[in-house]
């Protein structure tokens, strides 16, 4: 038998090449969808509107809608420049910086919360000074923001870094040679070209921040945000009690995702 015949013989008996990955991927998708569907199927038994109109729920929603955007903004404003430096420069200690960036991701949130308390709690020098100045850093909305930022900021840093990394450095060099300094080059070239990745990071950070529970519970159990309220409702009323707030939380996150994708959409060519 000639080599060509062997080749053709193999080809006819070949199974679809993506069968195995499709089966494995299907299993995990099924596992994602199952709890989701099961949970949503209980919405009929609970009165969502009534659940959301209690004063406790209203306060929690207001607190979350106030803190999560601020945490996201802080993470973005401080994180994107850091992401740019990490994408563009190598320097002594870069590994250490990178490790610090992912630290909040690998530390369990509840432990992260405990760490925040040891750093800025009421009886630490920083916390005491802040409390004296009238801005308590724990059990306050500021505390919520601290906890959310700690846990959520790495997402925007990591995605923005990948986005800047995908921008050819020579585009920046071309901009410099055409008469623009480093800052205006960043603003005119690097930022718009990395925009898609940065927006993806902003969405992830916002979703993480508004859903943050572990660290928030440690740093600021009061005032209640939606996740901490959900926990309290669950303790007292079980699954059905948390359905309204859980749905609202999901709804807000999806709305933000849709809005950012719609209004922040990168015009045409960049996603070549």
């Amino acid at each position: 038998m000639s080599l060509t015949e062997v080749f053709h013989g193999r080809r006819t008996s070949r199974t679809p090449e993506l069968l195995v990955p499709a089966v494995l991927g299907g299993l995990i998708l099924l596992y994602f969808a199952l709890p989701f569907v099961a949970f949503l199927s209980r919405t009929g038994t609970a009165n969502v509107v009534a659940g959301l109109s209690t004063p406790e729920s209203q306060t929690a929603i207001r607190n979350s809608l106030l803190t999560a955007p601020i945490s996201t903004a802080i993470s973005t404003v401080l994180g994107v420049p850091l992401a740019y430096i990490l994408a563009r420069r190598s320097f002594p200690g870069k590994r250490l910086v990178e490790a610090v960036v992912i630290l909040p991701l690998i530390v369990p949130p509840v432990v992260g919360g405990a760490m925040i308390i040891t750093a800025v709690g009421r009886f630490t020098p920083i916390g005491a000074a802040a409390t004296a100045a009238g801005i308590p850093l724990t059990d306050s909305l500021v505390g919520v923001i601290l906890a959310q930022t700690f846990v959520a900021a790495p997402f925007v840093i990591i995605t923005a870094r990948a986005g800047f990394g995908a921008v050819d450095e020579r585009l920046e060099q071309a901009s410099r040679s055409l008469g623009y300094g480093p800052l205006s080059t960043f603003w005119n070239v690097s930022l718009p070209l990395a925009r898609g990745a940065i927006l993806a990071g902003v969405i992830l950070t916002f979703a993480r921040a508004i859903g943050e529970f572990g660290a928030t519970m440690m740093v600021a159990y009061n005032p209640r945000t939606m996740p901490t309220r959900i926990w309290v409702d669950f303790i007292t009323g079980g699954i059905d009690a948390i359905v309204p707030l859980a749905l609202a939380l999901l709804g807000i996150t999806l709305a933000v995702l849709a809005a950012v994708q719609r209004f922040g959409r990168v015009p045409t060519v960049i996603e070549r």
Binding site: D168, R170, L171, Q173, A174, S175, R176, S177, L178, G179, Y180, G181, S184, N188, V189, P192, L193, V266, P267, T268, V269, I270, R272
Partner: protein, 352 residues
């Protein structure tokens, strides 16, 4: 002098990239910086444009030391091998980009953009995005963008290497035309010697981080100052010989003694020299080429028909193999013949 490099040296960590490079460009000149890949050309471009700070040495523009001046204040435009058009801007926004930085008023800016798009023959593509253009069009927009702010120096870093052959030749001619029309001082960086020789007023040939020779293309080609240039510019044959006498210089190539009346070389008797001769300057001896004053015995080892001519490989009695370009009727393999070459077309390099 428009651009001057003064003993420029750059190392990446401990890795030397360029070592003690000095050369200059006169105003309005088109100079090709030619060398094989990895010889340090791109490092020089980066140093000239201001994207790296050289380890040692100086860069001077119009006589002023700009070594510490950032890229944005140098008035040096660069076109890279890969497109650096801003994908989120239209063609005219790209061309206007450098003008806006130099505070050109918006009305004047429009005029200049039109002028330069006209120059590169792309007036109808103003509103297009770079992704909608062909490879050749993108190159031309980049040229327009680089030229619009009227830079002191235009650096083209392998601008044609990513294009296919036909387009490359077409754009090469266009670059020559644009350079003539604008008179912009241009440094054309390439590894392609044909490109360099066609375009440039002068060549700077680099090898392994150092300058191997500077001069007009024809001069460098016909009397190469170094063995590297002899072998890098055009096709070349090398064979070794031993110096057996001075005044006149006499060398032994295997059994054959050759007397070189015109060559003044500072080589001592007994040392080994390297001789370079181009394939097209060797022929097979017959009555017609008595003008060629040197003869070497050779045996034909291989004949390749490459269409326009035959490449005939011969072995001379030193064991060196030479290629002879032969227009028609090639000799047969195994035949013993006498090669005819003239002293004028042979270059002798001393040891080291």
């Amino acid at each position: 002098m428009r651009l001057e490099l003064d003993s420029l040296t750059h190392r990446y960590g401990n890795e030397p990239a360029v070592d003690d490079v000095s050369f200059g460009l006169e105003s309005g000149e088109l100079v090709a910086l030619l060398g094989p890949s990895g010889c340090g050309k791109t490092t020089l471009v980066q140093a000239i444009a201001g994207h790296i700070h050289p380890t040692a040495g100086r860069v001077l523009l119009r006589g002023a030391d700009v070594t510490d001046v950032p890229a944005e204040s140098r008035q040096v435009s660069v076109v890279f091998q890969q497109s650096t058009l801003f994908p989120h801007m239209t063609v005219s926004e790209n061309v206007a980009y450098g003008l806006a930085a130099r505070d050109t008023g918006s009305e004047r800016r429009d005029e200049v953009v039109s002028e330069y798009l006209e120059l590169v023959d792309l007036r109808d593509q103003r509103g297009a995005y770079p992704s909608e253009l062909s490879g050749g069009q993108r190159r031309r927009v980049e040229l327009a963008r680089a030229l619009a702010p009227q830079p002191d120096l235009l650096v083209l870093d392998e601008p044609l290497s990513a294009l296919d052959r036909t387009l490359r030749e077409q754009l090469r001619d266009e670059i020559a035309r644009i350079q003539r029309e604008t008179g912009v001082t241009t440094l054309f960086v390439t590894h392609d010697q044909e490109e360099a020789m066609t375009l440039a007023d002068r060549l700077v040939v680099m090898n392994d981080g150092t300058v191997s020779g500077i001069g007009e293309p024809r001069t460098l080609y016909e009397s190469p100052p170094t063995p590297f240039i002899a072998s890098f510019l055009g096709r070349s044959n090398t064979f070794s010989a031993t110096v057996i006498d001075q005044q006149p210089l006499t060398i032994a190539v295997g059994e054959t003694e050759i007397t070189l009346n015109g060559s003044q070389k500072d080589v001592s008797t007994g040392s080994t020299v390297t001789c370079h001769v181009r394939p097209r300057d060797i022929s097979f001896r017959d009555s017609a080429n008595d003008g060629a004053n040197l003869s070497l015995a050779a045996e034909i080892t291989r004949v390749v028909d490459i269409g326009t001519h035959y490449d005939v490989t011969v072995r001379i009695d030193t064991g060196d193999e030479l290629v002879v370009e032969c227009a028609g009727n090639p000799p047969a393999v195994g035949e013993s013949l006498s090669l005819a070459l003239s002293e004028r077309q042979m270059t002798v390099f001393g040891p080291g």
